[in-house]
C-alpha cells in the first residue's frame, strides 16, 4: 500500500524539529550560514538539508500580519517527473510498497540540470563532492521498519502526518473542511499527484514559489526536457527571485 504524508501548515509552529531531526537521523553535516534578516536558514534546500522550514511573512491592507511556515521536502510524486527524466537505469527508483522515490548513487551519472529541471517543486540538489543528486528518501530505512519518517516523528504539533495514502487523504479532506471556516482560501497542494500533501491556509505562492506545481504532472521525458525552458518553470524561478 503506498504511503503518504499530510502536512498541515495550519498547525506548524516552525519549531524546526523536522528540519533538525532529518539532519540528525541522516548524520548530515551543518552548512555555514549567516543571519541575513530572516529566520529561514539555511536559505534554501542544499545537499545537506533535505528538509527545510520556509518562513514567509505578509501584511494585508488592514495591517493584519500573517506568518506562514512551509516544511519543504520532496513530494514523492505518484508519477515522478524526475524519474521520467532519468537517463541512467537504477539511478532513480520508485518503491512500490511505500511510494518513496529514491535517488541512488547512480545519480552521479545523471545530468543534474535535467533531473532538477524535471522537478516542479525545485527539490533535487547536487552534492558537489560525490556528484550524486540528493533529496529526501522518505526515511525509507525507517518506514520499511515500521517507523515514522524522522521529520514526522519529530513533529509534536500534528502538522506532519504519515500513513496509508487513503487515510492521509481522508485526514486532509476532513481538516480542509474544518479549516476553511477560518481560512476560506485554504487548499491542498496537488493532492492527486503527490505523496506529500500540504494543506495551506492561503494562496500557496504566499508560502513558497514552488509550493504547488502549476503544469500538468504527467510529463514524458521529452516534455520534461523541453520543459527546462518552459514558461512555467521560468515563471516559478522568477517568483522565487
Amino acid at each position: 500500500m503506498p504511503k503518504a504524508f499530510f502536512i498541515d501548515t495550519t498547525k506548524c509552529t516552525a519549531c524546526r524539529g523536522c528540519q533538525v531531526g532529518c539532519k540528525e537521523w541522516k548524520n548530515l553535516p551543518a552548512v555555514p550560514t549567516k543571519q541575513t534578516g530572516t529566520h529561514q536558514n539555511p536559505p534554501d534546500l542544499n545537499p545537506f538539508n533535505l528538509k527545510l522550514v520556509r518562513f514567509s511573512e505578509h501584511m494585508d491592507k488592514n495591517g493584519v500580519v500573517s506568518w506562514y511556515f512551509f516544511p519543504d521536502q520532496c513530494r514523492h510524486c505518484l508519477e515522478a517527473p524526475c524519474k521520467q527524466a532519468s537517463s541512467v537505469e537504477g539511478s532513480i527508483l520508485h518503491d512500490e510498497a511505500t511510494g518513496a522515490v529514491i535517488y541512488t548513487e547512480k545519480t552521479a551519472q545523471e545530468d543534474f540540470e535535467v533531473i532538477h529541471g524535471a522537478c516542479p517543486y525545485d527539490i533535487p540538489r547536487l552534492n558537489p563532492a560525490t556528484k550524486q543528486i540528493v533529496k529526501c528518501d522518505m526515511c525509507i530505512d525507517r518506514v520499511r521498519a515500521n517507523l515514522l519518517p524522522m521529520c514526522v516523528k519529530s513533529c509534536a504539533m500534528g502538522a506532519m502526518n504519515f500513513g496509508e495514502r487513503a487515510d492521509m487523504l481522508k485526514m486532509a479532506a476532513d481538516r480542509l473542511a474544518s479549516v476553511r471556516k477560518r481560512f476560506p482560501k485554504a487548499q491542498l497542494c496537488n493532492p492527486d499527484d503527490v505523496a506529500v500533501i500540504f494543506l495551506v491556509a492561503d494562496e500557496p505562492k504566499k508560502y513558497h514559489a514552488f509550493a504547488v506545481a502549476e503544469g500538468p504532472q504527467l510529463l514524458t521525458r521529452k516534455q520534461v526536457l523541453a520543459g527546462l525552458a518552459s514558461p512555467l518553470r521560468r515563471a516559478a524561478r522568477t517568483l522565487r527571485g
Binding site: 528540519q19 520499511r144 517507523l147 519529530s154 509534536a156 504539533m157
Partner: protein, 1011 residues
C-alpha cells in the same frame, strides 16, 4: 495497566531493551540496499529526558557499542507524543560533540592557557580553597552581635539543570559550608512566580499541567512566546483550538506563537498591569465574574483594616527613606475571636471587592490604550473573548513565562493574572489555571529544592539572625488561623522543618540541640543575597571565590560588562559545565589581556543528560526518572559525584585540621558516594524509629508513605516534604511509572495519574477543590477534575481530602492559604496588595498617566559607577528594547551554540525592528547595526519585519526593537551578549532583573567586528 512500548521495557527491568523491529513486508525489492541496515536495529534503547525547557520531553536514546547513535522522542510521553522541537531533535549531536569538556582543566592565575589535570589534583585543591576561604572569613556573629554562622566571601551559583537528587546533596553542602550568597537561574527566570502565585493561591507552581491546556475554551498567552520557548505547550493549545477554543497572544512582537494563535495583540513592553487592570475593570463593570466562586472561594468579602489606603500611586505605610512599606498597614480586620471580618453582601466600603473596584476604576480604556499602545478595539477584543470564561461551564487559562517575570513589577504582573483568574472562577478547574512555563527542565525541581538563598528545601524561609532558636523561627513562619473551616496547611511547617534538619544532621540532630538549627547559616534580615547583589559585591571586591555549576552568568546577567569585570576580581572559582562558555573562559574574552586576570579557574567536565540517571520535575510538577544510557564521555562526571566529593574532602580536612565552626560539616549525615536512587529515598524520607501512626506500624528505616506522616518530634526525616510520598515501601520509586491507564473521567481531561508522579501526593491539578461547588458537584460536569461520589472524592487526588464545604467536616478549598481562600487582596508582597501600573526603570514616557509615581517605589536599584540609567523619556535613547529567547537556542546559548544543526538554523545575533524604524534610521534588512544604551553596545543584524509595529503611546510614536539573549563571544562570529545593554534593576520581591525593557538607540555599523 495499558500496554505500551514502555510497559514492555519496564517488564525487562532495566528501563531499556534491545530493539527488534518487524519489517514491513518481506520483499524489499529494488530499494533493498537503501532500506536495509536500519541503524538502530539491535540498539539498546534507554529513556532519558531532554535537558532544555520544562516540558521535560522524554527521549529514547539508542546505543550501540556503548555509543549514542540516535536520540528521538518517546512516543509514550503524554506531553509530546514522541515529538521534539529543534533543540530536542539535536540531542545526539550535543551528546557526542567534539566541543564537549572531557578532562578537568586548570587555569593558573595570569595564565593564557588551560592545563589538563587529573581529578584528584583538582579536587584536592578545590577542597583546600574552600576550606581556607571559609576559615579565613567565617562570621560567627553579625554587626548586631547575633549568631549567624555564615561566610559571605564564598558563593554558589547555578545548578538549575541538576537532578533533584543532585540538588538535595548540593543544598546540604552549601548550607553546611555556611554560604549565603547562594542563587540559581530561577532568580533570573521565574523567581517572581513563587511569591506571586503563592500570594494568590498558596503555592508557587504552575497550577495545572501541559496536557490540561487542551481543556481550555480561551487561552491567553501573555508574557510568553510559548510556541518557541516551550514548544509542547502549543500542541495542547492547538488541540483546544481544534475544539473551538480561542488562542490570544498579547506580546510586544508577532512571533511563531502569534502565527498560529487566533489573533495577536502587540503591547508595549512593561505595561501588562495596565492591560490586565483594564480587564479587571471590565469584568467588574460588566459583571463577567463567577459570582458564587468569588464569594465563597476568594477573599472578596474580607474586610481590610482602616489603615489601608491608596493615593496617587502609593499605598499606605510607605517609608520613603527605606523605600519599603510597612505591610501591617494592609492587614485584614479581625473580630474579637481573631477571625477575619467578612461582608458577604459586598456593601462594606472596606471589603476587598469594593477596594478592588475602586483601585481599578482608574484603568479605563482610554488610559490603558494610551499607556500600552494597544488600540481600544484590540483591548476589547481580548477582554470580551477572555472574560467569556467567567461561567461555570467555561474554562480560560493564562500562559506566561519570562515576558511577565523579568520586570521591576514581575511579581505584580503575575499577581494580577491571579486576580483575573479568581474573578472568572478559573482556578482549580480543567482547562483553567495559571500555567507558568518554568525554565530549564529542572528549574522547578531545583527551586523546590531551593538552590536559592531565601529558602530551605520545600519553601521554608531561610532563617535570619532575628530567629536564634528553632522555636522562634517556627513561631514566626507558622501561620495561625482562628477559622475552623480553614485547613491552613502551613500549620504543619514544623514537621517539615524538623524532618529536614533530621535528614541533614541525622542522629546528631536532637530535640536538645534544636535539631541542629544553630548549624544552619543565618542571613541578616532585609539583606539581599541574590544575583544582582552577588555581582555588585563581587565587583566591589567583597566576594573572593566560589562554585558555579551549569550556569553562564558572564553572558546572562544584565549589565554584563560589569559582571565580567566582577568575575575577574575573584581569587578562584570552581566551574562545572558541559561546554566552554563565556563564564568558563571569561579570562580570555575579547579585549582582555589574560595576564591581568588573577583568577584561578578549576573547570570540571560534566556529563550530559543521557550519561546519568535521576529525576527532574517539569513545569507541571511531574517528577520523572531518566536513565543512564552510556558511560560519561571522557573523564566527565555527574555533578552529584562532584558535590559529594567536594563535601567529603572538605569534611576530611576539617576532621584532620579542625577550623572555623566545623560542626555543620562534620555533623552532617551525608552520603559517602553519590547514588541517585539512594538520594531519591533520602528526599522522600525515613522513619528514624519504630512508630505507630493511626493503626499503621512503621519500622525504623522504612520510607515515610507521604508528608501527612511527617512529624516534628525527630521520628521522621525528609530532605523535601513536597516529594515525600514519591518513593514508598509499597510502590517503590514512583517517578519511574509509565502507566498510561486512565478512568474515562480522567481520560476526558488527559490527567494521566499513572505516568510518573506529581507533587504534592500525585495531585495533577492544584486547587482542584475549587472546581466543584459547595456540595462537591463539578462546576463543569463535562470536564470533571474531581467529584464527591458515595462519600469520597474520585478523579484527581483532591487538594485536601476533606468533605465538600457544605457537609460536616467540610473545609475551604484553598488549603495552603492561612484563611482558606484565594487572595484577591494580597497583603504580603513588598510593593502592594493590589498590582498597580508603574513604568519600567527606563521608560520613553515622562509622565505615568496612572499616578505621580513613575516607577515601582520599592524596586531594587543597584548602585555603582557603571549602573547608570537613562532619564525618563531620554531623547538620546528613544527606543524600547525587549530581549527574549527563541526555539533553536536555550537561555544563554552556551549549550545549543555547540549543536551544528541549531547554529546552522540560528547562527547570529539579530535585532528585530519595524520597517518604519528601519526607514527612519536608513537601514535595510540584513544590515549590521549597533544597538546602544547608556551601559554598552552590541552588534546585530537588522531583521526588518512587519511583525514589529510602532506603538502609539501617550500621543506619540514609540518604537520597540527586540533581541535574543543567546549569542555570545565564545562561539566565533556569533555576536556577543545582549546584556551589555540591559539594566541592573530588580523587582522588590525577588530581585529578578528587568531584562524585558530598557532604552536604546541604534545606527548602522561602520565596521563589523563581532559577526
Amino acid at each position: 495497566m495499558s500496554i505500551t512500548r514502555r510497559t514492555f521495557i519496564k517488564a525487562t527491568g532495566a528501563g531499556l531493551a534491545g530493539l527488534a523491529l518487524g519489517r514491513l513486508g518481506l520483499d524489499l525489492g529494488p530499494v533493498r540496499a537503501y532500506a536495509a541496515g536500519l541503524k538502530i536495529e539491535g540498539a539498546k534503547e534507554v529513556i532519558s529526558i531532554c535537558p532544555f525547557c520544562s516540558c521535560g520531553c522524554n527521549t529514547l536514546v539508542h546505543v550501540k557499542d556503548g555509543k549514542i547513535i540516535n536520540i528521538e522522542g518517546d512516543p509514550d510521553f503524554p506531553i509530546s507524543g514522541g515529538g521534539l522541537c529543534a533543540k530536542g531533535a539535536s540531542l545526539k549531536s550535543l551528546h557526542i560533540s567534539p566541543e564537549r569538556l572531557t578532562k578537568p582543566l586548570y587555569r593558573a592565575p595570569g595564565s593564557d592557557k588551560w592545563e589538563e589535570k587529573d581529578w584528584n589534583w583538582m579536587m584536592e585543591r578545590v577542597a583546600r580553597r574552600i576550606k581556607d576561604q571559609r576559615d579565613k572569613d567565617f562570621l560567627q556573629k553579625n554587626a548586631a552581635g547575633q549568631t549567624v554562622n555564615r561566610v559571605e566571601t564564598l558563593f554558589h551559583l547555578g545548578s538549575s539543570q541538576v537532578s533533584n537528587e543532585e540538588a538535595a546533596v548540593l543544598h546540604q553542602m552549601v548550607r553546611a559550608f555556611g554560604i549565603v550568597h547562594f542563587d540559581h537561574q530561577a532568580r533570573i527566570c521565574h523567581s517572581p512566580s513563587v511569591p506571586a502565585l503563592a500570594e494568590c493561591f498558596g503555592r508557587g507552581a504552575m497550577t495545572n499541567h501541559y496536557n490540561d491546556i487542551q481543556n481550555a475554551d480561551a487561552i491567553l498567552i501573555m508574557g510568553s512566546n510559548a510556541a518557541e520557548h516551550h514548544p509542547m505547550t502549543f500542541k495542547w493549545a492547538l488541540k483546544a483550538q481544534a475544539r473551538g477554543a480561542v488562542i490570544m497572544h498579547v506580546d510586544p512582537k508577532f512571533s511563531r506563537t502569534s502565527a498560529r494563535s487566533d489573533f495577536h495583540v502587540p503591547i508595549r513592553s512593561g505595561t501588562d498591569i495596565a492591560f490586565l487592570g483594564g480587564m479587571i475593570k471590565y469584568i467588574l463593570e460588566k459583571k463577567k465574574y463567577f459570582a458564587d466562586y468569588v464569594l465563597d472561594y476568594t477573599n472578596a468579602s474580607f474586610l481590610v483594616g482602616e489603615k489601608y489606603s491608596f493615593k496617587d500611586g502609593m499605598f499606605s505605610g510607605f517609608d520613603p527613606e527605606k523605600k519599603k512599606y510597612d505591610k501591617s498597614a494592609w492587614a485584614f480586620e479581625k473580630d474579637a475571636d481573631g477571625k477575619v471580618k467578612r461582608d458577604p453582601t459586598f456593601k462594606h466600603p472596606r471589603c476587598v471587592m469594593n477596594l478592588m473596584k475602586a483601585h481599578y476604576s482608574r484603568y479605563d480604556l482610554d488610559r490603558v490604550s494610551s499607556v500600552t499602545g494597544v488600540s481600544k478595539q484590540d483591548l476589547l477584543r481580548v477582554y470580551e473573548a477572555y472574560t467569556a470564561t467567567g461561567r461555570p461551564d467555561k474554562a480560560g487559562t493564562i500562559v506566561y513565562a519570562l515576558g511577565w517575570t523579568q520586570h521591576s513589577v514581575g511579581v505584580q504582573n503575575i499577581r494580577l493574572s491571579g486576580l483575573v483568574q479568581q474573578l472568572l472562577g478559573n482556578i482549580g478547574i480543567a482547562g483553567g489555571g495559571i500555567n507558568a512555563l518554568r525554565g530549564e527542565p529542572n528549574v522547578q525541581g531545583t527551586t523546590d529544592h531551593a538552590l536559592l538563598y531565601g529558602y530551605l528545601p520545600g519553601y521554608h524561609s531561610t532563617p535570619t539572625a532575628t530567629y536564634q532558636t528553632l522555636d522562634e523561627y517556627l513561631k514566626a513562619y507558622t501561620p495561625v488561623t482562628k477559622d475552623p473551616m480553614s485547613v491552613n496547611w502551613w500549620s504543619n511547617r514544623p514537621k517539615y522543618v524538623v524532618s529536614l534538619l533530621k535528614a541533614w544532621y541525622g542522629d546528631n540532630a536532637t530535640k536538645e540541640n534544636d535539631y541542629g538549627y544553630s548549624w544552619v547559616p543565618k542571613m541578616d534580615p532585609g539583606v539581599d543575597y541574590s544575583h544582582l547583589y552577588i555581582f555588585d559585591r563581587m565587583y566591589k571586591g567583597g566576594i573572593k571565590g566560589g562554585l558555579c555549576f551549569a550556569h553562564n552568568p558572564c553572558q546572562s546577567i544584565p549589565n554584563i560588562h560589569k559582571v565580567r569585570k566582577a568575575w575577574d576580581k575573584l581569587d578562584w572559582v570552581v566551574i562545572g559545565d558541559v561546554f566552554h562558555n563565556e563564564t568558563t573562559d571569561n579570562w580570555r574574552r575579547p579585549g582582555v589581556d589574560p595576564k591581568t586576570v588573577k583568577t584561578e579557574v578549576f573547570l570540571l567536565p560534566s556529563v550530559y543528560r543521557a550519561e546519568k540517571d535521576g529525576t527532574i520535575s517539569n513545569s507541571g510538577r511531574w517528577h520523572m526518572w531518566h536513565y543512564k544510557a552510556v558511560e560519561p564521555l571522557g573523564q566527565s562526571r555527574n555533578m552529584g559525584e562532584m558535590f559529594v566529593e567536594i563535601m567529603n574532602r572538605v569534611r576530611a580536612l576539617y576532621a584532620k585540621e579542625g577550623g572555623a565552626f566545623p560542626e555543620p560539616i562534620t555533623k552532617s549525615d551525608y552520603p559517602a558516594k553519590f547514588d541517585a536512587e539512594a538520594e531519591a529515598r533520602r528526599i522522600n524520607g525515613f522513619f528514624t524509629r519504630d512508630v505507630k501512626v493511626g493503626d499503621k506500624e512503621h519500622k525504623k528505616g522504612q520510607l515515610v508513605p507521604g508528608f501527612p506522616s511527617l512529624k516534628d518530634d525527630g521520628s521522621t526525616t525528609s530532605l523535601n516534604w513536597l516529594y515525600c510520598g514519591g518513593y514508598t515501601e509499597a510502590e517503590g520509586n514512583l517517578s519511574k511509572r509509565r502507566d498510561l491507564t486512565q478512568t474515562p473521567m480522567q481520560a476526558k481531561i488527559g490527567l494521566y495519574p499513572g505516568f510518573a508522579w506529581a507533587w504534592p501526593m500525585n495531585r495533577r491539578v492544584l486547587y482542584n477543590r475549587a472546581s466543584v461547588d459547595k456540595n462537591g458537584t463539578p462546576f463543569n460536569p463535562d470536564r470533571t477534575v474531581i467529584v464527591w461520589q458515595d462519600g469520597k472524592w474520585v478523579g484527581d487526588v483532591p487538594d485536601g481530602g476533606y468533605p465538600p464545604m457544605s457537609m460536616e467536616g467540610g473545609k475551604y478549598p484553598f488549603i495552603m492559604t492561612t484563611e482558606g481562600h484565594s487572595q484577591l487582596f494580597g497583603p504580603g508582597r513588598e510593593d502592594g496588595p493590589f498590582p498597580e501600573h508603574y513604568e519600567p526603570a527606563e521608560t520613553p514616557l515622562v509622565v505615568n498617566p496612572f499616578s505621580k509615581q513613575m516607577h515601582n517605589p520599592c524596586m531594587k536599584v543597584i548602585q555603582s559607577d557603571v549602573d547608570v540609567l537613562a532619564k525618563n523619556g531620554d531623547p538620546r535613547f528613544p527606543i524600547v528594547l525587549t530581549t527574549y529567547s527563541l526555539t533553536e537556542h536555550w537561555c544563554s546559548g552556551s549549550e545549543t551554540r555547540n549543536s551544528p544543526p541549531l547554529l546552522e538554523a540560528e547562527p547570529q545575533q539579530y535585532v528585530e525592528m519595524s520597517p518604519q524604524l528601519a526607514q527612519e534610521k536608513g537601514l535595510k534588512n540584513g544590515d549590521v547595526v549597533i544597538v546602544e544604551s547608556l551601559r554598552g553596545k552590541t552588534e546585530a543584524v537588522a531583521m526588518v519585519t512587519v511583525r514589529i509595529k510602532p506603538f502609539k503611546v501617550a500621543g506619540k510614536t514609540v518604537h520597540l526593537v527586540g533581541m535574543p539573549f543567546c549569542f555570545g563571544w565564545s562561539k566565533p562570529k556569533c555576536g556577543d551578549s545582549t546584556n551589555r545593554v540591559t539594566v541592573s534593576i530588580g523587582d522588590p520581591n525577588t530581585t529578578i532583573p528587568e531584562y524585558k525593557a530598557c532604552l536604546v538607540n541604534l545606527r548602522k555599523a561602520d565596521k563589523v567586528t563581532e559577526l
